[in-house]
């Protein structure tokens, strides 16, 4: 069963057609990679999934709900979380606070006036946040201010925030960009573990083919705003259309 269903999505900025009749379907419980040359419209497409952009035409359905015309926080409450290309974190809060905010958002919904409850007394939330930090191997940085960390750490923190919400669909925009090889491998292992343990559906944009082929069960190739191929990884490598898109079509 497909959890995310994208049909006939078009989006243009001024005269530029960024997305051109995009069709895509992400199967529940799988890792689906979206690859393609620079400027193919990958990030634009993700932005249409989280309410940052609204497509000109077309439909985006998640678990039977349309994601168009509803606000970003509502989309997240439906179970869609996103890791951004440049980490979006609460830079002047501590690492622990960053993660526990995500835990509260999951538990309390979009708004709760729990102004008299003490964070210190919320043991289950604290434990959950700490467990998340252990999972991404950051527990030793628990009380550091987020802005003081390296880019790779910020990205792992953002991933911990997203995972703390137990999303149904996790969108990852180049989750390993700027990471060292070892960190990249750790991240691959982490994502694979989580995927196998909880069966979260993941849609991942990635340039690093090592990551793509380690994780993805299905790959969509986006070129010039449209999906040219959607297939299993082993069939992608030799596909002439893909080679053309990367080598010839880039200009």
């Amino acid at each position: 069963m497909s959890i995310l269903e994208v049909r006939g999505v078009n989006k243009s900025f001024g005269g530029l057609q960024a997305l051109n009749d995009v069709n895509l379907s992400v199967e529940e419980g799988t890792v689906h990679a979206i690859i393609g040359p620079n400027g193919a419209g990958k990030s634009t497409l993700l932005n249409c999934f989280i309410g940052k952009l609204v497509p000109d035409t077309g439909t985006v359905n998640f678990n039977g709900h349309s994601l168009l015309g509803i606000k970003p926080h509502e989309i997240n409450q439906l179970g869609v979380s996103r890791v951004f290309q440049t980490p979006e974190i609460f830079a002047d809060l501590t690492v622990f606070e960053n993660v526990i905010i995500a835990c509260f958002a999951k538990r309390d919904g979009s708004f709760a006036l729990n102004a008299m409850a003490s964070i210190a007394s919320q043991n289950d939330m604290k434990e959950k946040a700490e467990q998340m930090l252990i999972d991404v191997n950051m527990i030793d940085k628990r009380d550091e201010i987020a802005s003081s960390m390296s880019r790779g750490d910020k990205r792992r923190l953002e991933m911990a925030m997203c995972l703390a919400q137990d999303p149904k669909l996790l969108l990852l925009d180049e989750p390993t960009a700027g990471m060292a090889r070892a960190d990249t491998n750790n991240t691959i292992d982490l994502l694979r573990e989580i995927q196998q343990a909880s069966g979260i559906t993941m849609a991942i944009i990635e340039h690093d083919m090592h990551v793509v082929f380690s994780l993805a069960e299905k790959i969509s190739v986006l070129a010039q705003g449209t999906v040219i191929v959607e297939d299993a990884p082993e069939n992608i490598k030799g596909n002439p259309k893909v080679q053309e898109a990367y080598l010839g079509g880039a200009h």
Binding site: H73, E88, A91, D92, L93, I100, I101, S110, M116, A120
Partner: protein, 400 residues
């Protein structure tokens, strides 16, 4: 204890001790001594210190946590004042209805203003709040004169209805009270050369401030408070984390509006008068100054800022030229005149000049206010003892 951790409970205890012993602490100099004019232990000023402390604590919940800079909070203080004075005029000289009404009216008014103003952020938000406050001020002065008393303001009269009270005799002054304790009653204690004044109104206002301070600690340490800090830090991320920021900012706005209303109600309870000048935008600017000066986003900073500014306004502005002359009288006359000439512009009526300069220096060099200054000094002393700041969940340095 009381749902606070050790550190916060310690802070609360310090505030309680300071307010209880304020009549002693603020009167360190013997009566009649040369420094007696620096004594601040008289009822009127002490009441103001704690009441504006409440105002600043509330403002800090909005500005310190969310970063939304309101330039119109005096409107809520003013609205609270008017609500309070009407309760005193219509119902009873007992201050309970006045305080309750002032909080409710200011809360509703801030709900309306906040609901509209919070549709914008940044400087637009500041200007919207400013516009609302100036509108309230102008209306209070003109069209709303039947409700506000216009330029003369409102005071209780013997002829007021006061349906819960027995009629007052002609010629007596209506005095506000709390179940028979009159706000302007004081007990004076003379010890050697010192005179200490214990005022009923001050202690009642102080109890309110301690409660207000306690609630503010709870808010700071709650998930709600954390969400407010998240709004300040990265509103986009918060939305993509499934949280709607506007209800949070609006709640913070209304809470701070209610604090302002409480301050307004207490002002009325103490001096039984209300006027439009309390709503003027400079009054809004003053609470901004207090909060920044003390340290926005810190717990106790705004209280210190309020105390500092009110003390300064009342004490330094009373120093006049002849007092200056007396201070420098040990010098040769020419040098004495020179010193008087140098210092004179900064004291007395020029007190605001000094305040403005201090404020600028704080914004430029100490964005974290006096609290940051104190912390830096403290850090100098414990430089050697490991560079572990141990911010924990307090992180007052995150005040940006």
């Amino acid at each position: 204890m009381l749902g606070l951790n050790k550190k916060d409970f310690g802070l609360l205890t310090i505030v309680i001790i300071l307010t209880v012993f304020a009549p002693f602490l603020l009167n360190p100099f013997p009566e009649g001594s040369a420094l007696a004019q620096f004594n601040a232990g008289y009822p009127d000023l002490m009441q103001r210190l704690v009441i504006f402390g409440i105002f600043a604590i509330g403002f800090n919940i909005l500005f310190g946590l969310t970063g939304y800079l309101s330039f119109g909070h005096a409107a809520f203080l003013g609205a609270g004042s008017y609500a309070g004075i009407w309760m005193i005029k219509l119902l009873t000289l007992n201050i309970v209805p006045a305080i309750v009404a002032s909080i409710i009216v200011a809360g509703l008014f801030s709900l309306l203003v906040g609901w509209i103003s919070l549709r914008r952020s940044g400087i637009y938000f500041s200007i919207l709040t400013l516009a609302f406050a100036q509108m309230s001020y102008s209306l209070a002065y003109s069209v709303l004169t039947p409700i506000t008393g216009g330029e003369t303001g409102l005071q209780p009269k013997v002829s007021d209805p006061r349906i819960f009270d027995a009629a007052l005799a002609e010629g007596t002054t209506p005095r506000a009270n709390l179940f028979g304790m009159f706000m302007n009653d004081s007990y004076e204690l003379s010890v050697a050369g010192w005179v200490f004044t214990f005022n009923v109104g001050y202690y009642i206002a102080a109890i309110f401030m301690v409660i207000a301070f306690y609630i503010s600690i709870r808010i700071f340490r709650s998930p709600f408070g954390l969400m407010l800090r998240a709004v300040k830090s990265n509103q986009q991320r918060l939305n993509y984390t499934g949280v709607q920021s506007k209800p949070y900012t609006l709640a913070a706005f209304v809470i701070s509006g209610m604090y302002a209303g409480l301050a307004g109600g207490l002002l009325v309870a103490m001096d039984t008068q209300a006027g439009a000048e309390r709503m003027f935008w400079t009054a809004s600017g003053e609470v901004v100054l207090m909060t920044i000066l003390g340290g926005a986003g810190t717990l106790i900073g705004p209280v210190l800022g309020a105390g500092f500014i009110k003390y300064f306004e009342n004490i330094v502005s009373k120093i006049n030229e002849s007092i200056l002359q007396a201070w420098f009288s040990f010098m040769p006359e020419a040098i004495q005149d020179l010193f008087v000439a140098i210092f004179y512009p900064f004291i007395g009526k020029g007190g605001h000049l000094t305040l403005g300069i201090i404020f600028m220096l704080v914004v430029i060099f100490l964005p974290g206010g006096l609290m940051e200054g104190g912390q830096r000094i403290a850090n100098l002393f414990k430089k050697k003892t490991k560079s572990d700041t141990g911010s924990g969940n307090a992180s007052p340095a995150a005040a940006e």
